[in-house]
């Protein structure tokens, strides 16, 4: 480091205030310098898009109800035109596996693009940094402000920043709870101070987590807490896209005037301005090589390209490349690892889609009356009592026919003339089965309930039960 002007993490004089006591380890506070360029624009696009989705999604309506509502109190997940029940847990698990495999696939192909552009930690940190810059000013002003002893001006600025952070976090927490309980009613309860105690708890809990993670922990979450950051290197190979400094071109680094001829001075293209270090949100020096702290946000690429332009050098001293390409070889996009991940992913996705399309949106549970095994009716028949739970998981209401089989002459008696269940509804239906003792083979006999929608033969549910008798 030769440039004394910069106060980057590696060079600046450290005052006690700058050595922020962070939650995980004693780490120097990082002041990422704002960066402009292609990748910064891409990230802003990602941040705005993802935050937009997060904050707007729970307000969307579908068929007169919240379009995406993970209705935990009612144990139903409404996802646009689909309603998932606890019975459908399997689909959710497979969906998570697909998401995980997609992450593996993308990592093998393009490195840590998830970290740099789409991870909630990155997205909310960017939003918090934006608020911080609006209130405190750019990197230099922030460092100067933090070095000052507390005075009225500093207090006012810091209080404004934290007020905005907390307001933003509270809104985030509120939105989070809005995914699990209808958000419009939640908003009405919030405005009239009738929020339930658990709702309040979760708004504060999630809001606090946002405030802490995006305001204070920031890059330390990636460095110390993120499981993905720990194992992502397992998906890497020599053809994976990485952000890298090209040492053969940059070294030996050194400062110079614009008019100097680097060849004459025996210098590489790196002018050692340390801008790549200043813009780094994790506070590393990309010129030291590939490091697990690097979240591939490519802020250093933007910063360096800018400098190269100003110096009249070719862009790309820091760039997206692969290990093979850096060694002068060819990058292989199609390679065994990619093919294996892709085949797995496609297979699971096709299986999921097929199985989901075959999903019967009708549920039938049969619960035997536990109090009496059986009873004898006035006309000498054996009677068993059951409670049927009919779940209509379809998007429209249906009427159903109920049949039962298994014992000759078995008769079905129910109080309801018509079994009708609205969309998303559950009907508890007590039924009595009667059979002649002479027709029973054993003490316990198998019977099968069959429920069929009157307007759709494909909507069938079958459930086994036991019919108990004296012998």
């Amino acid at each position: 480091m030769t440039n004394p002007d910069t106060t980057g993490p590696a060079t600046g004089s450290r005052s006690d205030e700058q050595v922020a006591e962070s939650l995980y380890a004693k780490a120097e506070k990082i002041y990422p310098r704002q960066v402009h360029g292609l990748f910064a624009r891409l990230r802003v696009l990602g941040v705005l898009g993802l935050l937009g989705i997060y904050y707007i999604l729970p307000w969307l309506r579908w068929d007169g109800q919240q379009a995406l509502l993970l209705d935990l109190p009612a144990r139903k997940f409404h996802i646009f035109f689909v309603t998932l029940w606890p019975q459908d847990f399997f689909y959710l698990a497979v969906l998570l596996i697909i998401a995980g495999l997609t992450l593996f696939f993308v990592t093998a192909l393009a490195g840590r693009v998830w970290c740099g552009y789409a991870c909630p930690q990155t997205v909310w940190t960017e939003a918090f940094l934006w608020i911080e810059r609006k209130v405190e000013g750019d990197r230099m002003k922030q460092q100067k402000l933090d070095a000052l002893p507390l005075n009225a001006r500093k207090f006012r600025i810091k209080a404004t920043k934290h007020f905005l952070w907390i307001a933003f976090s509270a809104w985030t927490g509120f939105t989070f709870v809005g995914y699990f309980t209808p958000i419009i009613e939640l908003g009405q309860r919030l405005l009239t101070f009738h929020l339930g105690s658990w709702e309040t708890f979760w708004v504060i809990f999630y809001g606090f987590a946002t405030y802490g993670n995006a305001g204070f922990m920031r890059e330390q979450v990636c460095k110390y807490m993120c499981p993905y950051a720990r194992f992502q290197s397992a998906m890497f190979d020599k053809d994976t896209l990485i952000v890298s400094y090209i040492p053969v071109r940059g070294e030996p680094r050194g400062s110079r005037k614009r008019s100097d001829d680097p060849v004459e001075k025996g210098l590489g293209d790196c002018i050692d301005c340390t801008l790549c270090v200043q813009v780094c949100p994790t506070g590393i020096d990309i010129r030291d090589g590939l490091q697990y702290e690097c979240i591939a946000c490519s802020a250093c690429i933007d910063a360096c390209d800018d400098v190269m332009d100003k110096m009249g050098y070719e862009k790309g001293l820091i760039k997206y490349t692969t290990e093979h390409a850096m060694k002068g070889g060819k990058t292989h996009i199609i390679r065994p690892r990619i093919i294996i991940y892709a085949v797995f992913l496609m297979a699971i996705f096709v299986a999921f889609a097929w199985s989901f399309s075959q999903r019967i949106s009708l549920g039938l549970d049969v619960i035997r009356d536990r109090n009496t095994l059986y009873r004898e009716t006035g006309d000498g028949l054996i009677e068993n009592v059951y409670i049927l739970k009919v779940l209509n998981m379809d998007s429209s209401g249906h009427e159903y026919d109920l049949r039962v089989s298994g014992i000759p002459g078995l008769s079905l008696h129910k109080d309801l003339a018509v079994i009708r269940v609205d969309s998303g509804g559950v009907l508890e239906l007590p039924v009595r089965l009667r059979a002649d003792e002479a027709d029973l083979d054993a003490r316990s006999n198998d019977v099968v309930f069959e429920l069929v929608a009157t307007d759709d033969d494909a909507l069938v549910a079958r459930e086994d039960a036991r019919f108990l008798g004296p012998q």
Partner: protein, 90 residues
């Protein structure tokens, strides 16, 4: 656990964070299988809402796995580490 001088905050995070993740998974699995309305803790019917039961369930899972984390951290320290003068006052 070679480094005896692990900062206290790091120990706290190392206990609370993984147990938090485990608690999310455990809560999801448990309450997918069991409806809170069908549960009768200590044979009693409770007045707690489903949201409340989920929350209590999550916090309990978190607590239990955090306690297990404390155990892991404690037993991972060898006796000679525990007797080191600098770790004794921690």
């Amino acid at each position: 656990m070679a480094d005896v001088q692990v900062p206290k905050q790091q120990k706290c995070i190392a206990i609370l964070w993984p147990s938090f993740l485990v608690a999310i998974v455990a809560t999801g699995l448990f309450f997918s299988a069991f409806d809170p309305d069908d549960l009768y803790p200590f044979g009693e019917q409770t007045e707690i809402s489903r949201m409340g039961v989920y929350s209590i369930g999550f916090l309990s899972f978190w607590l239990v796995s955090a306690v297990s984390g404390i155990g892991t951290l404690y037993f991972a320290m060898t006796n000679c580490m525990r007797n080191l003068p600098e770790s004794r006052d921690q």
